[in-house]
Homo-oligomer: 115 residues x 2
């Protein structure tokens, strides 16, 4: 009985885990005067990434206050870590859009743990 | 007719503007080994802030990768800049929960500009 229960759980659990998307949060430090070019770069990256398997959605946030440390923050959803890593690895090799000199990125994957 | 139209627009527009919440994004640098205390501090801040006028919602994100620069990122919605500033100013005076030594915050307000 115990073994049957474990077998059933093993069948159910991967499906549940897959249903939980991962959240990419990527704060950008943008050099002064290059805000418009940074958005153009982001748009090219988005156009590439949304063609890849596992992409769910993305939202680019711009600070209201001009002195914010992170002028832009991208928040995206991916189906899982593997598809996100494969897509960004492919992008690094294939995206021809020129990166912004001096722009810094801090991308990481997150789960929501409290509300 | 033109004046009537402008009068109607002036009645409608402030309501539309108020409907656009502002988004607080607050990345935290948490000293190693103090992750649990940082969450306890965040919970106390949330309990205080959700009692204040203008609060809409909040979500605490924890990085899946242990080497992420920002171990925690809070994303909250407020009705507008004024209520957010009043609430955080009140919190700085009244919240008794001890802050975490060495924890760094980069809070700023954002609009979504691209999807």
């Amino acid at each position: 009985m115990k073994h049957l229960l474990i077998s059933i759980l093993m069948l159910i659990l991967p499906t549940t885990a897959m249903a939980q998307n991962v959240i990419l949060i990527n704060p950008f430090e943008v050099p002064k005067g290059q805000e418009a070019e940074a958005i153009v770069y982001w748009e090219a990256a988005r156009d590439f990434l949304q063609q890849q398997p596992g992409y769910v959605s993305t939202e680019l946030h711009q600070s209201i206050q001009p002195n914010a440390r992170f002028h832009l923050i991208n928040i995206a959803e991916w189906e899982n870590i593997e598809t996100f890593k494969a897509a960004t690895s492919k992008m690094r090799k294939e995206l021809t859009q020129k990166r912004i000199e001096g722009m810094k990125f801090y991308p990481a994957l997150y789960d929501i743990i409290r509300k």
